[in-house]
Structure formats: structure tokens, C-alpha cells
């Protein structure tokens, strides 16, 4: 059954209680109230009524009513019991509620007063403590409400009324207990995204305590936020707290909350009096995570991801390089081989060959050295018959033999070599119906063909120093000046002929001079090979 809810008739009429527990006066609706007779030396008595009365005692006091409007105000006054609000803080009962406690101890001289505009009126009242009243603090309120501010029930919602109230604190001496404990610390987040630390304390004594609560956040690395502080009253038997707001740190982090609550523990002092005898209770939470801002979150996620990506890429490339090395063909250097010649034979770039094998200038290789042959960037199918100077690019077009270049004039042609199926073409294997012809493990060294365009210089025939050079030879080498004559060498090993030496023993072993002709030949061969390449 669908029913339309009509907010009619006697609905919720709400009154706003403007309540002061520490300020001088309360003001609402252009009016205010304040204690008429504050205690000397007690600033709190300027805001709230503070009395210490034994059972059966009576005291007279007064409340001052102020009118800040431009017209006369009729103000209703009343004394009501105190009550704890939902959050445990001190509050006052409504005027409509029956008085059962301290509200009965207060008797106002009048219940209604007319205050002229801009003026104030003092309304006397008495407080009579029952004889059976137990020791400790007893609370009540004196309220003042402009008769025009009393809301009326209306359609469609709630009407609002406003009133002022002042706390009345009456302490009956005796066994006074001042005790406050921290029950727990609640961590939460508010609508602004900041974190709130709410220590909840319980007053297990029989008097109110002005508790000074301090809260601080401490990170797991020792960083601390500024201390936040607040002082608020905790009624006897009440559980109340305070919410401290901490701005969310940019980078977030792991923090714990540290809380301390201090109060005056001297049982001979009352509200507003401080002796410095302070008792402090402490508590802390476990570590909790404070979420970083989204900007920091992006950095905290992106940077590790980037590092991981870089690491994975590096490891992957290294793995591929290792695999590639394993798959590379190996070649053993034969006499006469050069980097250039090997590269030409296998159809690869000589620079790539040198890079893979970490061969640096002047690109020297040794007989018997094992080289790794990289894959060519372009597939160049090398045929042994075409090694004289032609290359065929391996593409989809049918293979046709290319023309052989014209041989160089005057250059003896090497004997024709039967074409051999290339071994290292790096092509996908093709299913064979007949076994492939065996191929040699390595290519024969091409014969050295001197290029008349680049005549090889004659190797100077260096004379054996043991035989002694003639003067003519020395002059040719530029060692002797024109008319100088080289002194004859001694037949002895010791060239210092001034000193007598023993004759050379017979059948002695003379050190051999190793002529580095092979080295020079390799170097010249490389130069010769480079010159051949330039033709293409």
C-alpha cells in the first residue's frame, strides 16, 4: 500500500540551546545572560555559576539579562537539570522536562522579566543544597528564552526556537575523587579527506575535570606532526571526547596516534582553580596507514612500475643476448683471415662482426681464434662462386644468377670453384627429400690477389744485427753520417770493447729475432681488402 507521508500537525519542534560553559555571557536573538556575581580571582565564574556548598546550605546569586535589540524583550527564565549530550558533553534539559535533580535546588525570584532595549536586568535566585546531597559536583542550568523565539508547530518540517543557558556547578565537599581514564582512541576521516583522532575519556570521579587533551601523530620513521591541544570539561560519570583533525600528508605513510590528557588532580581545588598538581594519562594507537594524496599515489605507483619495467627490459635483453650468443655461428680464424674478409664471406657487416666479438681497432685477430658470426641485417646469400665480387639480395623474386663482374686487367684469376650450398644463410629450414650435400666446416681462405693499383711495398730486408752492418748499409739507413765509420763490432756478446771479456763460448744458443712479418702481412691484407671493397 502506497501512502503519502504528510508532515503535518504536531511534528518535531526543535529548540536551539545556545549554551556557554566558559564565556562571560550567552547571546542569542539579540539577548544575552551572564552571572551577576562572579567570584574574585576565578575567571571561570564570569562565565558559569560556581558554588561550593555543604548539605543544607543556601546561597543567593543572580543572573543578568541583556537586551541588545531595539525593542523591549520579554524573557522567560528557568532552572533545569543538566544532562549529557549524545557526545557526552555537558548540556541542559529542556524546559518542558520535569526537574528531578539540581534543577530543584535553584529557585528564581521571577520566571519572566521585561528588559528594555539596550538595557539589562538582574534576576536574583537562591540555591539550596539538600542535606542528603552527596559529596561531589552537581550540575544544573539557568536558561533564558525570548518569548518570541519559541517555535510553533508547522507544516512540512520543524520550527526552530532559540534559548540561552548558563551552566551551574555546585560542589558538595567531602570525599572528592578526581579520576579520568582514556577509554579508546578513534581514528577516522572527515569529509575533507583529513584524518581525525578522537580520544574518548571517561570521568570516573565525582567532580568535573577540565581536561587538557593533546594529540600527535608519529610516523613509523619517527616523524612527528605538530601537537594539537584542546581543553574541555568532562562531567562526572560522563564519557566524552574531542576530535583532532590532522591534514593528510602528501606522501601518506604509516603513523600512530599518541594522546595525553592532563587535569588538575588536587582534590581541594574546584572549578577554575589550578594548583599545578597535574596528572597526565597517556595512550597511543597502533600503526595505521594514512592514504597519500592522489598525486603522490601516482608517483608512488608510476616510479616503481617504471623501475620494474626497466629492470624487466634489461633482464630480457640480457637474456636475449645470451640466447643470441648461443645461436650464433662460430668460426675459427684461419691463416690469412681478416675481419673484413670473414665478414665478406659470410655476408655480414665487418663492424658488426667486430662489435659482437669485441674487436677494437686495429681489428687484429689471431690464427685459431673463435669468432661469433652475427646474423646479417640484410639477407645476403653468398655463393662461393660469387665471392669474387657479386652479391645477391635474398628477396622473393626467383633467384637468377647475376653477372660476374669483369675481371681486373692483369690480375690472375683464381681457379673456378664449384658452387657450394651456402651453410650460413640463416633461412628457415626447408623440408628436404634428399639429404643435403655435406658442406665444409669453414670456407677456404681466398687467395691473395695483389692489386696493381695498390702495389705492395717491398718489405725492407732488415740485416741481422749479429752479422754486423756494413758502412754502406748504415748510411743507407741513415744511421751513419757521411764520412763517419762505424767502429767494428766486437766478436763478443759484450759490446763494450774496452773491457776485456772472455771469448764467446762455442755452440752457444743465440736468441732468435722473430720478425713480425705475419703481423705486417695481416695489416697489409686488411688494407688490401678494404681497397677491394671500395669497388662495390
Amino acid at each position: 500500500m502506497r501512502k503519502r507521508l504528510q508532515t503535518l500537525g504536531p511534528l518535531l519542534v526543535v529548540s536551539i540551546l545556545l549554551f556557554t560553559h566558559a564565556s562571560v555571557f550567552a547571546q542569542a536573538g539579540s539577548m544575552g545572560i551572564a552571572p551577576a556575581n562572579p567570584l574574585v580571582g576565578n575567571l571561570r565564574s564570569r562565565s558559569i555559576f560556581i558554588h561550593t556548598l555543604k548539605g543544607g546550605e543556601t546561597v543567593e546569586d543572580g543572573v543578568r539579562v541583556f537586551n541588545y535589540s531595539k525593542e523591549a524583550r520579554t524573557v522567560k527564565l528557568d532552572a533545569v537539570d543538566s544532562i549529557a549530550a549524545v557526545d557526552g558533553s555537558f548540556s541542559c534539559k529542556q524546559n518542558s522536562e520535569k526537574k528531578t535533580e539540581v534543577g530543584l535546588w535553584i529557585r528564581l525570584s521571577v520566571k519572566e522579566v521585561v528588559v528594555q532595549p539596550g538595557a539589562n536586568e538582574t534576576v536574583p535566585f537562591t540555591i539550596t543544597v539538600p542535606k542528603e546531597a552527596g559529596p561531589g559536583e552537581h550540575g544544573a542550568c539557568i536558561t533564558a528564552q525570548d518569548t518570541k523565539n519559541i517555535g510553533s508547530k508547522s507544516e512540512g518540517g520543524i520550527a526552530l526556537g532559540f534559548r540561552n543557558a548558563i551552566r551551574v556547578a555546585i560542589t558538595v565537599p567531602g570525599k572528592i575523587v578526581k579520576q579520568l581514564n582514556i577509554k579508546n582512541i578513534a581514528i577516522g576521516r572527515n569529509d575533507k579527506g583529513n584524518y581525525t583522532v578522537s580520544p574518548v575519556s571517561k570521568n570516573t570521579g565525582n567532580v568535573s575535570l577540565d581536561a587538557t587533551s593533546r594529540a600527535q601523530l608519529k610516523s613509523i620513521f619517527g616523524q612527528q606532526t605538530p601537537v594539537q591541544k584542546a581543553t574541555y570539561p568532562v562531567m562526572p560519570g560522563a564519557t566524552t571526547g574531542w576530535a583532532f583533525e590532522f591534514k593528510r600528508p602528501f606522501w601518506g605513510g604509516v603513523y600512530k596516534a599518541q594522546v595525553s590528557i592532563a587535569y588538575d588532580s588536587d582534590t581541594n581545588t574546584y572549578i577554575g582553580d589550578t594548583t599545578g598538581q597535574e596528572r597526565k594519562v597517556r595512550a597511543s594507537t597502533g600503526y595505521f596507514i594514512m592514504v597519500p594524496t592522489w598525486q603522490a599515489l601516482v608517483v608512488e605507483i608510476a616510479v616503481p612500475l617504471a623501475l620494474v619495467f626497466i629492470l624487466i627490459t634489461f633482464l630480457r635483453r640480457r637474456r636475449l643476448r645470451r640466447l643470441a650468443h648461443k645461436r650464433l655461428q662460430k668460426y675459427t680464424v684461419a691463416p690469412g683471415d681478416t675481419v673484413m674478409s670473414i665478414a665478406e664471406v659470410h655476408g655480414i657487416d665487418w663492424k658488426q662482426l667486430a662489435k659482437v666479438n669485441i674487436i677494437k681497432a686495429p681489428y687484429l685477430i689471431e690464427y685459431g681464434q673463435t669468432l661469433l658470426l652475427p646474423q646479417p641485417k640484410k639477407r645476403l646469400r653468398h655463393r662461393r662462386a660469387e665471392r669474387k665480387g657479386s652479391w645477391v639480395v635474398d628477396d622473393a623474386s626467383p633467384k637468377t644468377p647475376t653477372e660476374q663482374p669483369a675481371p681486373l686487367p692483369g690480375v690472375p684469376q683464381p681457379p673456378a670453384v664449384a658452387p657450394v650450398a651456402p651453410e650460413n644463410t640463416w633461412q628457415a629450414p626447408i623440408a628436404q627429400t634428399q639429404p643435403l650435400a655435406p658442406v665444409p666446416q669453414r670456407y677456404p681462405v681466398p687467395p691473395h690477389i695483389p692489386n696493381p693499383a695498390f702495389p705492395e711495398p717491398e718489405e725492407p730486408d732488415f740485416p741481422d744485427w749479429r752479422d754486423g752492418a756494413s758502412d754502406e748499409e748504415l748510411r743507407t739507413l741513415g744511421v751513419l753520417k757521411d764520412s763517419a765509420t762505424m767502429p767494428a763490432l766486437s766478436s763478443s756478446w759484450n759490446l763494450e770493447a774496452d773491457e776485456p771479456t772472455s771469448p764467446k763460448p762455442k755452440n752457444s744458443t743465440r736468441p732468435k729475432v722473430v720478425k713480425r712479418k705475419h703481423h705486417a702481412k695481416l695489416r697489409l691484407s686488411a688494407q688490401h681488402a678494404r681497397s677491394d671493397c671500395r669497388k662495390f
Binding site: R2, S23, A85, G151, I158
Partner: protein
């Protein structure tokens, strides 16, 4: 020029066999709550029904409570106050305050503002959300 009495209006709702929530704003732009702490001390602002023990809503046939937490407020009705913006209009220092709010669970009032600052200040309170749980239809 007369000023209308302040009021908070809830929208009418057609409901069925389910729990619904109606919301209204206490402290609109045209009805701001002005509060001050002119002398060193603190100010507290509470809200409660005028007659907490018996006040309720009615549709003419059935009454609905404002402070019953049974069934998450859906059994008999519950009102919750939350949010609110504190805008300081005077005073050199920013006061220390909290705006706890809460749900009515008994005859106790709900605290809208709790200030313990020892400096003089004035402020405007706006934007409190009054959420009223509608009850299941009988």
C-alpha cells in the same frame, strides 16, 4: 519589516514498504546561525526536541519517532544531524572547535558545535544536514 520564524522544511515523500531517508538543511544561506564568543571562553550549541519525551512526526494516522535507533532508524523513525560549515566572521585567531553532530537515540540533545577557544571570535554556522528516516508502512 517582520522576519519569519526560522524553520526547516522536509520534502513530502511517497513511500512504500521500504525505509527511506528525507533530508533537509539547517542553516541555509537565508537562515544562517550566528554565534559568537566575545569574551575569552567557550561556546556550545546543542539541538533537541522541545519536548523530547513525546515529540514525534505524524501523518495524521500514525506517529513516527525521531529518536528510535531500532532497525537502523527504520522501525519507528530516527533523525540524524551531520555536516555543517563553520565560517569565521570575526576574530584574529582561529578557534578550536568540533562539530560532532550525531543521531538522536534518547532524550539527550545533539551537539552541533563545541568550542573551547580562549579567544574572541564570531562565526556563522550553515549547511547542517537533517536526515529523517521514514518508517515502513504499516
Amino acid at each position: 519589516m517582520s522576519v519569519a520564524s526560522p524553520a526547516v522544511s522536509f520534502p513530502t515523500t511517497t513511500f512504500s514498504f521500504s525505509c527511506q531517508t528525507q533530508t533537509a538543511t539547517f542553516g541555509t544561506a537565508s537562515q544562517k546561525v550566528k554565534i559568537g564568543n566575545p569574551i575569552l571562553g567557550g561556546v556550545k550549541l546543542d539541538i533537541n526536541a522541545q519536548t523530547p519525551a513525546t515529540d514525534n512526526w505524524t501523518d495524521g494516522a500514525k506517529n513516527y519517532s525521531y529518536k528510535d535507533s531500532a532497525g537502523a532508524g527504520c522501525t519507528n523513525g530516527q533523525m540524524t544531524i551531520s555536516g555543517g560549515t563553520f565560517t569565521q566572521t570575526a576574530g584574529a585567531n582561529v578557534p578550536t572547535y568540533t562539530m560532532p553532530g550525531g543521531a538522536f537515540t534518547s532524550t539527550s540533545p545533539v551537539t552541533l558545535l563545541n568550542n573551547t577557544s580562549t579567544t574572541a571570535w564570531e562565526a556563522e554556522l550553515t549547511g547542517y544536514t537533517l536526515a529523517r528516516r521514514s518508517c515502513r508502512a504499516s
